[in-house]
């Protein structure tokens, strides 16, 4: 019954999405406020129906209703309860439903917070959001219905893919989708502006918080995915340049660029056309990512060719939205008036360079991801584009970006003083050089790229701090005065510096992990020792453990420093019974900012077991840095001037109240 009702709710949501697509836009075209006002209640109702379907599917999973094909294929009655919740989106159909659910949430949020928007803009934005929702709801209903029944109902499910039976699944996809789909709002605003042929600084003020929100979620989502892969896949890598990862990093790069160009547009009324284009491109890359991941085209071109229904459907959606918006851009973009003039060396100029580098990075990732597919389709020539390509091509771009980053906030709007900025960064650069020299001394060298990366990373952090110190006049005025200035500094200024420091912190982590990790691959018998980076690991033996739906071999290690046991590590190898599929559960212990990482391999003859043991110095900085970035974003978002749905300025409200 739940399945049928949920299915029906999806159909109703689709119809409502169609209403939301056409009625408000039609109203905007005819300047009819009644028609335009239809958008909001319909957005709320649409959210209601999609939520019903989503939680309906969740109820089916929690109740282990194996008469539903989707539940049968991705669940098991013995699975831990938390995974019965998360398994909802651990499969194609359910994850598309989550996608649409998130979209509906954003639509409703626009309706809720958009009360102060000009009527026509709001109507058009809701219309575009409705169109996206309608397209994807139709996709679900036509090709990926999660509510199909099986007859007769199987007694037991086939279990969720063991790799997904992890808390990571609870966090990573929802965050990622909040990011991906959140960019749809910037897209909708861009298309709405093009429809109206009007765009101003107020538009940027509206788009920025939404873009920032999406960006924060996407940053955290990517970072969580990276940590999940790191501890789950068992060889200690944190980023693989897998096409699926690339699909998430492309919108991130474009979204980061958008965030910065929107600042120029808001403050200086410049870069309008470019900002609109970026808003379109960012969401287009989100859609492209959805296509790449969901069509199966990545697994192989052949897999796509044998069952192209889903792929072709998403491809049509892709062409309609990307093509449509770009055509609209080509036709109407030129009508948007250019504002604010600025010198090449200025805050605007720095943000333009930022945009150029980030766009180049996004284009590089896009090319690297699609090139093998295109080449195979065109010439039947098979090549691989793997991590070495991305590291080599993006490494220099990011180094340049981070090395220039501290200059940006120190330059004035309109016309900046590059020499002055460089002067103010002397201490920051000096500090970075000293740190690099110390590291060089203590590690007896390292790869050249790692050294350059370290320099850029530390400079990004010290540079960001310099900017803050500069603004609060630290050491130039008494501390109390500096403190007062710090309190008065707008939160968005804090946000910028903190986010900039965050990316520097992440880079330091990446450099330390790739440049100075230690590794031992050993075959160990119980009672044997391995030493790594000043730690002694004593292998004590292995025992068996059983979970609800798995059996595991758990190894036990004592970690000792100078003969004293400081920790124990219990890496395991699990076999999930329903699918007879093994997973590794690495044993990880954090010491300071570094981590000791042990992963078990095969049992060998004579009671020995092979193990991979890593010491990864400062590795946690990779993810801590992203959290710092997100915090910076949140601070910026909490700035009164940018707060979602910020009320009108007090003065205007006062003027609106009648005199007493």
């Amino acid at each position: 019954m739940i399945a049928e009702l949920s299915h029906y709710a999806l159909v109703l949501a689709f119809v409502l999405a169609l209403v939301q697509t056409f009625v408000p836009v039609w109203g905007a075209a005819r300047n009819d406020t009644t028609l335009m006002a239809v958008g909001e209640p319909v957005a709320f109702a649409g959210l209601g129906f999609v939520a019903f379907a989503f939680f309906g599917l969740m109820a089916l999973y929690v109740g282990s209703d194996f008469s539903v094909a989707n539940v049968y294929e991705n669940s098991h009655s013995a699975m831990a309860l938390v995974y019965k919740f998360t398994a909802v989106w651990g499969n194609h159909e359910g994850s598309m439903l989550l996608w649409v659910f998130v979209l509906a949430i954003f639509s409703a949020l626009v309706a809720l917070f958009g009360r102060h928007l000009p009527d026509r803009l709001r109507a058009n934005v809701l219309g575009v959001e409705g169109a996206i929702a309608a397209a994807f709801l139709l996709f679900i209903l036509a090709t990926s219905n999660p509510f199909l029944r099986l007859d007769p109902a199987p007694a037991e499910g086939r279990d969720l893919n063991p790799i997904l039976q992890d808390l990571g699944l609870a966090i990573h996809p929802p965050l990622l989708y909040l990011g991906y789909v959140g960019f749809s709002i910037a897209f909708a605003f861009a298309v709405a502006a093009l429809i109206e042929g009007k765009i101003d600084a107020a538009w940027a003020r509206w788009v920025r918080p939404w873009t920032l929100t999406a960006w924060i979620f996407l940053t955290l989502g990517i970072s969580m995915g990276s940590y999940w892969a790191y501890y789950e896949l068992g060889w200690g890598g944190f980023w693989f340049w897998d096409p699926v990862e690339n699909a998430s990093v492309m919108p991130w790069l474009a979204g980061t660029a958008l965030l910065h160009s929107a600042v120029v547009m808001e403050k200086r009324d410049a870069l309008k056309v470019w900002t609109i284009l970026l808003a379109i491109l960012t969401f287009s890359l989100s859609l492209l990512g959805t296509f790449l991941v969901r069509s199966g085209v990545l697994t192989s071109v052949h897999a796509f060719a044998t069952d192209p229904t889903r792929g072709v459907f998403i491809l049509i959606i892709l062409v309609l939205f990307i093509g449509g918006s770009l055509v609209l851009f080509a036709v109407r973009g030129a009508e948007l008036k250019q504002g604010g003039i600025f010198a090449p060396v200025s805050r605007e100029g720095a943000l333009v360079i930022n945009n150029l580098l980030l766009t180049t990075a996004a284009a590089t990732v896009l090319t690297g991801t699609l090139y093998p597919l295109a080449l195979e389709a065109l010439t039947a020539d098979k090549i691989s584009v793997g991590p070495p390509f991305f590291n080599r091509s993006l490494g220099p771009l990011f180094l340049l970006l981070l090395a220039l980053m501290p200059f940006g906030p120190l330059l004035a709007w309109k016309r900046g003083d590059a020499y002055g900025a460089a002067q103010r960064l002397t201490y920051a650069a000096g500090a970075a050089l000293i740190v690099a020299a110390l590291v060089l001394y203590s590690t007896q060298g390292g790869p050249l790229l790692a050294m350059a990366g370290l320099l850029a990373g530390v400079f990004a952090v010290t540079g960001a701090l310099t900017e803050l110190a500069d603004r609060v006049a630290l050491f130039r005025e008494p501390l109390a005065a500096s403190f007062a200035r710090a309190k008065g500094l707008p939160r968005s200024a804090w946000g910028t510096s903190i986010a900039h420091a965050g990316i520097g912190i992440s880079l330091i982590g990446v450099v330390a992990e790739t440049g100075w990790s230690e590794e031992r691959i050993a075959s160990l018998k119980p009672g044997e020792n391995v030493s790594i980076a000043g730690f002694e690991l004593l292998y004590k033996g292995i025992d068996e453990r059983t979970g609800p739906n798995w059996r595991a071999e758990v190894g036990h290690f004592d970690v000792r420093v100078g003969g004293v046991t400081v920790a124990t590590l219990d890496p395991a190898k699990r076999v999930y019974l329903a699918r007879n599929q093994p997973t590794t559960e690495a044993g990880i212990k954090t010491f300071g900012l570094g981590q000791l990482y042990v992963s078990l391999g095969d049992s060998e003859a004579g009671g020995a077991i092979s193990a991979r043991i890593y010491w990864k110095p400062y590795v946690t900085l990779i993810w801590l840095g992203t959290i710092v970035m997100a915090l910076g974003g949140m601070l910026s978002l909490s700035d009164r001037r940018l707060r979602v749905g910020a009320p009108r300025p007090a003065a205007r409200r006062a003027a609106a109240t009648p005199a007493e």
Binding site: D242, A343, L356, K382, S384, V385, S393, S523, P582, S610
Partner: protein
Amino acid sequence: MRGLFLVLAFLLSLTPAFAVQPGEQLADPALEARARALSKNLRCMVCQNESIDESNAPLAKDLRILVRERIQAGDSDAAVREFLVARYGEFVLLEPRLRSRTLLLWGIPLLVLVIGGTALAISLSRRRQTHPKALSTAEKKRLDVLLRTNKKS
């Protein structure tokens, strides 16, 4: 037939094995380091985007041993790569070599940077040359009035 092979390869890749195993390693640390560096850039062809250094698949194990055999036989890194490409095609290299067919791939970053930069420079310099229009007489009069009233107050 080929499909069957892929299915088999997929199933085999699921049996628990391990990336580089202790027994596979070469005694000479310098040679072993070269083998590791090489394997990190070689693709395990039956896996999804994994190098033979990371992969648990039996094929990856075979390739790891093969790489070490070639190194012990005195091959240079380039010769080992050449040997594998001759056997398995360019697909085995995770870093595509610069050829006519990969020219665009390697060229894109530079191309976007140069074209984007040039377009920017042109549009910015053009915008900077457009001077704001002179005030019309009506506007001038209005400005005068405004300035005068400002002085009075």
